[in-house]
């Protein structure tokens, strides 16, 4: 977990009832926080002005990013679940951070104006392998339902990444082995992006990885 310099955001304002509606942070969430902390010097080095988390859920991750960068950046986040967006705003406030949520599908309504401007892009997607019918909810199922290979939502988002990221921008993605990270690496390489695996951790049956993408500058 995070050390004393970058404390894990408090979630004491949330109750078990809230987790009927939004995703309760779990090992995947905390692994993502650990990866951002591990990378914090690299992140600070690019002097981010705009950080964007897609599918923010409770807001724990974008809030943690705000803890790393403080007033030196801005923090936007989206969620298709309106309760998540409202809770993310509260999570930011409870931790003294200024988080700006938007209720939307992925980055709809933001991608035109954010073209080439996102410095830190983060997505903990619905990665669980599920039947196709479970994909496309606006409620809590949207947090995990990933369809075939858990890739339905990831594959909808990947084509948007090259347009969103700034020249030195970084994209962090949470995946499990079933999502075929090697295939994602190939897809992104064709779009001109290099991939690194920042952290890997087994949590029960899941083998989680945090992937980081940046433009190839060769």
């Amino acid at each position: 977990m995070s050390d004393a310099n970058f404390p894990t955001p408090k979630l004491s304002h949330l109750t078990p009832k809230d987790f009927n509606f939004i995703y309760e942070p779990a090992e995947d969430s905390f692994l993502l926080l650990d990866a951002l902390e591990k990378d914090h010097e690299h992140i600070q080095h690019i002097r981010p002005s705009i950080c964007l988390e897609v599918g923010c859920g409770s807001g724990i991750c974008i809030t943690f990013l705000a803890t790393l960068l403080k007033s030196s950046s801005s923090y936007l986040c989206t969620d298709i679940n309106f309760k998540a967006a409202e809770i993310a705003s509260k999570t930011g406030k409870e931790n003294g951070m200024n988080i700006q949520p938007v209720i939307t599908d992925l980055v709809n309504g933001l991608d035109l104006r954010l073209k080439g401007k996102v410095d830190i892009l983060v997505f903990n997607p619905p990665y669980v392998v599920t039947p196709e019918e479970e994909v496309g909810s606006k409620g809590i199922e949207a947090a995990w339902a990933g369809g075939e290979n858990g890739r339905r939502v990831i594959d909808r988002f990947l084509p948007k990444v090259p347009d969103l990221l700034s020249q030195w921008g970084l994209f962090y993605l949470v995946v499990i082995k079933e999502n075929k990270p090697e295939e994602i690496q190939r897809i992104m390489k064709e779009k001109g992006f290099e991939m690194e695996t920042v952290l890997t951790r087994r949590s029960g049956p899941e083998l989680l990885s945090i992937l980081r993408f940046q433009r190839s500058h060769q």
């Binding site: 030196s72 801005s74 409202e86 705003s89 209720i103 104006r113």
Partner: protein, 124 residues
């Protein structure tokens, strides 16, 4: 919804809408909250901000005074100017209200400070 967020929202997601920018603001409840002023951040953000849209949005929220029509280079060194930009971008917040597509008139609600850009199936 702070005006920095408004500056990046477009309604071109609606079928038939070409640009959808800037969205009009119909504020019902606006608050101004103290946010830490970071002049280096404001200086970095300014080139990414659509200045005309910010000016218009600030006016619609009742906080447009003091923002010049154009930004001259010297202004970037002027702390008072940067503080005014900071106030408009980061401190003015629409808590309740509506965003309006400039082409179709379609309204998007803002509740509890959060704008909702989700569309119905027939609008996509």
């Amino acid at each position: 919804m702070k005006l920095i967020t408004h500056n990046f929202l477009t309604s071109n997601i609606i079928k038939g809408v070409k640009n959808g920018y800037p969205l009009g603001i119909l504020p019902a409840k606006v608050e101004v909250k103290d946010v830490e002023f970071n002049p280096a951040f404001i200086t970095r953000m300014l080139p990414k901000v659509d200045w005309v849209a910010l000016q218009k949005a600030a006016k619609e929220c009742g906080y447009g005074e003091g923002l010049p029509d154009a930004i001259k280079d010297e202004l970037m060194e002027d702390t008072d100017f940067l503080k005014k930009v900071h106030n408009a971008l980061m401190e003015v917040e629409v808590i309740e209200g509506k965003l309006v597509c400039p082409e179709s008139g379609r309204e998007f609600p803002i509740n509890n400070g959060v704008p909702n850009m989700l569309l119905n199936e027939d609008e996509v």
